[in-house]
Amino acid sequence: MIELFRALATFTERPRSEHARLSRELGLPSVPTDDEYTELFVLQLYPYASVYVGAEGMLGGEARDRIAGFWRAIGDVPPKEPDHLAVLLALYARLGELERDESRPERATAWRRARIAFLHEHLLSWLPAYLDKLIEIAPPVYRAWGRLLEEALRSAARELSGTERLPLHLRDAPPLASSGGEAATNLAEAVLVPVRSGLIVTRVDLSRGARALGLGLRIGERRFALDGLLSQDREAVLGWLEGEAARWYVRHEAMREEFGDIAVFWADRAGQTRALLVRARERVLAGAATAEVSK
């Protein structure tokens, strides 16, 4: 699937003229446009692994370093953004190519082992959830692309039996309840860190929530927008988030068969988040101080 992964990789970059040919070959319903690309990858679903598996839910940090470490481990110099989805998929394709072109069996086996580890650690650790969300909110062309990539990942996961242990990104991820500090606000912020909360909450989701609750959405980054919502009706927003967590629990559970322990990890996180949110909401309702929630 070398060529397929390589072709799919290019779609997480700004559309160029060559994408017309690639879209046709992949059977996508149209050619992505610049505004579709910007809306999806610049504003909604940042295509960087560190956002989804990093303890801060932000670009860079230890998660990116771990991916850079993989490059070093295979004797290569990491590129500037080693955790960008385009780079990850291209590297996966490259590892397959190295294995295919290697004449010495022992080295070919080593490349295969590297590819299994890479798939397990840096792709399967977050992409199923990411793509699930993407398919939900993307325009048709990217939705079709996301489905293809999801299929390709499933097939790769079937082909390369994974290791027993949970990926390091996930083993290392601190649970939601350890955030400390200012309770409800911090809890709500921690909800925006996917690997801790088990949820992927985009701007689209926040605006959907605001509409459903009849609240005003302040334009800005997600934390700012969520703070704005909480300040208007804390109890309702926590309730809405509770519903989101419940839905994510179900979504992750549905992937259990294909992605095993990784899906279980994500489902557990969503479940725990839901429980915390329930408790937080109860406290708000009880007018109690919120300091305990995040302890």
Binding site: M1, I2, E3, L4, R6, A7, A9, T10, E13, R16, E18, H19, R21, L22, E25, L26, G27, G75, D76, P79, K80, E81, H84, A86, V87, L89, A90, R107, L148, E151, A152, S155, R158
Partner: protein, 978 residues
């Protein structure tokens, strides 16, 4: 979607990609973060947009056309892409050309610095003619027409008056493979002289006596063990194509072993860095060989099939039964004394370390890539045995022309047959090829001043071409002597892009273009493939791409800067304007008879007729072959060439076949014409005139190697027959700097290493490179520094056999104790104002009888020019010109100058000034005579009355008749002295 649906999609994409890329288009989107090395896609080379860096933070777009050429700053000719600004029509920057098979889009610092050379405010823009005395520094601007007519007239007279040997062309950096050799052949002149005997001749000799071809092509990328005798190639020369492949192999787990007395850049990447005593390298390799032989760790079948062991037994052990088993017994005894203990004693390296390296070599199998170019080969008397004993390891392991092994260069090189090929000249030039050196690999170029002083002849027209012997060669004061003597050198024309120490002593200084301002076609043995690269004036290609017609490169170059190929074509046309001399026809157009050949027709012909696959490839893109090369700059003809020696000779080449007693096979069928005219040795026909066509191996007739025996020559009959029987097999010869030859207070000085970012003469005004490297201190080990009482930065006096120089010390652990080193890349100077002001000190030259001196008036300083950066020069020190204090050391076999010096180092005396040079030229004459006395003259040693074995390579090969020895010339070595 099922698995097979995905697989089908995958296959469809693969097929689409192959299809698109076969049309020369890019399938995937261009530069982006998914490509590890990203380049503008080829389809956008006509119109490439980048943001203007100087407009930051505003986003101002600039449009470029990307035009390929090749770098001219070392031999390897890596690909460059010139970014031509479509608004200003100026080259804005140079980056790598991803289409170039050798460099693959990567460059070293010297490539992008081409821009500095092009925009150098001190470069020479117009033809200049001397106004005062030679070397006085007075010049007038002249027209190209006047210069050409003057030169052509003198050359014509010399030809008409039978003084062909008074015309000489002396080249530093070669441009196009064979171009100028063919021009000289067209004139009927044996006047080619090269820098090679101060460079790689000894290494070449070591390789040629083994495999016929004089240059290795190691397949580093696929090696398991890489063994380098470093200091030159992998850090300075072929640096980029080889370095990237060495690193590729290392990533795949290869072991890198580097032999270098000094911690070179390559050594810093080694798994094993060995710093042997200079000149002991061959002893080490023979000890490794002895280990492989003793423990039967070599490829016995390869040795049996491919070595000329039968010839060796017959010549040297006639009483021994001629079987391979007897040879193996003999082989073991030959090298039994080369123990690790012996090598350790010679090299001053622990025997355990050497044994460990031998064990690693033994694990390489046929994936052993090895290389020596300068370094130990160029440093030592007998240095040619370094390459010969190094290649012995390949020959033992069978690592010859295997993946990861070492190839003969001609198999990885392609020189397209040109439109005209003039015949071999019928003259022999004794000034370049004297009878004392019948086996010299190349011209005895660095002895020219001494030969002129000996009265062996004189020169009427002498061209130096991107060549700076006054600075580059040893004994520069002797060069100044002869270049200023008009009775010895009638007219000296320096063809050079920049001022040099030699150009000051010229009659004409003729400006020639840099890598983006000239045409050359070339091919180098960077890996197991055959490719051609195309150097071109990028503004000419740019204008033609957008519909203009350019008929002369001067129309697009700065000032009146020209290119050599057009210059030589025009000069040749003017030498013989009416065709009476029979010269003109070799530069005549075929499309328009009666007119001069132009470079467009010249290259169009070669690309259409002599490069297999190129016309088809070009047609697929709707281009002519020339337009294709102008657009992409390179073409790969073949890759994975493999073991050509093991190919069966086709039946149609076999007729009236005869075998000699060792299995050399001869045929009546003439050699089929080939598109590839890469220089290959010419083993001689049998007594009945049959051509050697192959070699019989286990009953089959295989191509073999271009040696007299057709096999790998463990034993060189040539060396044995021409007076050097004692070193006809790989042997250790003690160097002239061996401890036995040194006084107790003398140390060897290593001077052969480059600074990897510099380019000999031409980089002096490459400001980016100058800022990185601009001086050459004396490397001194801490223990020696303590003994001498010297600290880093202190002045020391280094005394050679003919004088001394004063330099700063650099105390380091990066060199073997008891040895000092100083790079030859620095110490540039100028007498007056003209010159490269960023890296040339201003000096006085002094003379009192034979006592000569150079003293520094001032270093470099900031200055105003068209480039504001020249006001920002912060360095003043530009190093010391040590080569002036080196006498000539011609190796008696290879003819190579043996660079290492026996020196005394001490603290500078009161009054000694940095950069000061003192030389006694009487003493330099004496040293010349001492070395000439080591030679074995063809008049006494030729086995067949010829001057030189005909089969050996020679850059410009005269006709067979010219090889016959005449009467001995005037007393060869005695000389009258001047």
């Amino acid at each position: 979607m099922t698995m097979s649906d995905l697989e089908k999609l995958n296959q469809r994409l693969g097929a689409a990609r192959a299809d698109v890329e076969a049309r020369g288009e890019t399938f995937y989107p261009g530069p982006s973060r998914i490509h590890l090395a990203s380049f503008p896609p080829k389809e956008r080379w006509d119109d490439w947009v980048e943001l203007e860096s100087k407009a930051w933070p505003k986003k101002v777009e600039r449009r470029y056309a990307l035009v390929p050429t090749t770098c001219f700053n070392c031999e390897s000719a890596c690909g460059l892409l010139a970014y031509v600004d479509k608004e200003t029509l100026a080259v804005r920057k140079f980056e790598g050309n991803p289409e170039h098979p050798g460099s693959r889009g990567r460059n070293c610092a010297k490539g992008p610095a081409t821009l500095n050379q092009v925009t150098d405010p001190d470069r020479i823009l117009h033809p200049l003619k001397r106004a005062g005395g030679r070397g006085e520094g007075k010049w007038v601007q002249v027209s190209w027409d006047d210069a050409l007519d003057d030169l052509a007239g003198r050359i014509r007279r010399a030809i008409e008056e039978g003084r062909r040997n008074e015309i000489m062309y002396h080249v530093g950096r070669p441009g196009e493979d064979g171009f100028t050799e063919r021009i000289l052949a067209a004139w009927g002149v044996d006047g080619h002289n090269s820098h090679t005997n101060v460079c790689s001749s000894s290494a070449r000799a070591g390789y040629q006596y083994w495999m016929g071809l004089d240059r290795p092509s190691p397949d580093h990328a696929n090696a398991r063990v890489i063994l380098l005798v470093s200091s030159h190639l992998e850090t300075g020369h072929y640096f980029n194509p080889h370095a990237q492949r060495v690193m590729e192999a290392k990533k795949n787990g290869a072991k890198l072993i580097v032999f270098d007395t000094r911690l070179s850049n390559t050594a810093t990447h080694a798994d094993h860095w060995v710093a042997p005593y200079p000149g002991s390298e061959a002893a080490i390799f023979l000890a490794i060989a002895s280990h492989l032989i003793r423990h039967r760790l070599y490829d016995r079948d390869f040795v049996r099939r491919w070595w000329n062991w039968q010839e060796y037994l017959a010549a040297e052990h006639p009483g021994v039964e001629p079987t391979f088993e007897s040879f193996e017994r003999v082989l073991e005894t030959i090298y039994q004394d080369y123990t690790f203990a012996f090598a350790a004693h010679e090299a001053g390296v622990d025997a355990d370390v050497l044994e460990e390296i031998a064990r690693i070599v033994a694990t390489a199998g046929t994936r052993l890539s090895t290389h020596n170019w300068r370094s130990a080969g160029a440093g030592n008397e007998g240095g040619w045995q370094v390459a010969r004993s190094l290649f012995l390891l390949n020959a033992l392991m069978g690592a010859v022309a295997t993946p990861g092994g070492t190839f003969p260069n001609a198999w990885n090189k392609f020189v397209p047959r040109p439109i005209h090929t003039p015949p071999h000249p019928s003259t022999w030039n004794e000034m370049s090829w004297p009878a004392e050196y019948p086996l010299a690999m190349n011209e005895l170029s660095f002895l020219l001043p001494h030969f002129l002083k000996d009265g062996r002849g004189k020169l009427d027209v002498y061209f130096t071409r991107v060549y700076n012997p006054v600075w580059t060669n040893p004994d520069g004061f002797s060069w100044i002597d002869v270049l200023t003597d008009e009775s010895l050198v009638g007219l000296h024309a320096a063809l050079t892009p920049t001022w040099s120490e030699t150009a000051y002593f010229a009659d004409y200084v003729l400006p020639m273009g840099h890598g983006s301002e000239r045409h050359d076609m070339h091919s180098y043995e960077t890996h197991d493939a055959q490719w051609i690269g195309f150097r071109q004036p990028v503004l000419r290609a740019f204008r033609e791409r957008f519909g203009d017609t350019v008929t002369d490169t001067r129309q697009v170059n700065p000032g009146e800067v020209w290119e050599e190929n057009e210059f030589w074509l025009e000069l040749t046309w003017r030498i013989d304007p009416d065709g009476r001399l029979g010269v003109r026809r070799y530069v005549e157009s075929r499309e328009r008879p009666g007119t001069r050949l132009g470079v467009d027709e010249y290259y169009a012909w070669a690309f259409e007729n002599s490069v297999p696959g190129l016309p088809e490839r070009a047609r697929a893109e709707g281009l002519t072959p020339l337009a294709y090369m102008r657009r992409y700059g390179a073409f790969e003809i073949a890759k994975g060439v493999g073991p050509l020696h093991a190919q069966l000779v086709p039946r149609d080449e076999l007729d009236d076949v005869r075998d000699d007693r060792f299995g050399r096979v001869y045929t009546r069928v003439p050699k089929p014409a080939s598109h590839n005219i890469v220089p290959v040795p010419t083993p001689v026909p049998d007594a009945d005139g049959r051509r050697p066509v192959g070699v019989r191996v286990d009953g089959e007739i295989l191509r073999g190697f271009p040696t007299p025996s057709g096999r790998l020559e463990f034993y060189s009959r040539t060396l044995a027959e021409w007076g050097w029987r004692e070193c006809a097999i790989p042997t250790y010869m003690k160097s002239h700097v061996h401890p036995d030859s040194l006084a107790p207070d003398e140390m060897p000085l290593i001077s052969t290493f480059r600074l990897p970012v510099h380019i000999h003469t031409r980089s002096a005004n490459a400001k980016w490179l100058d800022e990185i490297a601009h001086t050459n201190p004396l490397w001194l080990h801490r223990s020696d520094a303590e003994r001498l009482g010297v600290a880093t930065g202190d002045l020391v006096r280094v005394e050679t056999a003919i004088g001394h120089f004063v330099v700063k010390a650099w105390v380091t652990e990066g060199i073997r104790p008891g040895v000092v080193a100083c790079s030859h890349h620095m110490g540039r100077w100028k007498v007056g104002d003209r010159g490269q002001r960023q890296l040339m000190a201003t000096v006085n030259l002094e003379q009192r009888g034979s006592a000569r001196g150079l003293t520094r008036r001032r270093g470099v300083e900031p200055y105003s020019s068209s480039d504001p950066d020249t006001r920002r020069i912060w360095w003043t020190d530009v190093g010391v010109h040590q080569n002036l204090t080196f006498p000539v050391h011609p190796d008696p076999v290879s003819g190579q100058h043996c660079w290492h010096q026996a020196v005394r180092v001490r603290r500078a005396e009161p009054g000694d000034a940095y950069g000061e040079i003192a030389v006694d030229t009487t003493r330099s004459r004496e040293v010349y005579r001492e070395w000439m006395a080591k030679t074995r003259d063809a008049h006494r040693h030729s086995p067949d009355g010829t001057r030189r074995p005909y089969w050996l390579l020679r850059p410009l090969k005269p006709a067979l008749d010219a090889y016959r020895l005449g009467e001995p010339a005037a007393p060869a070595t005695a000389g009258t002295g001047r």
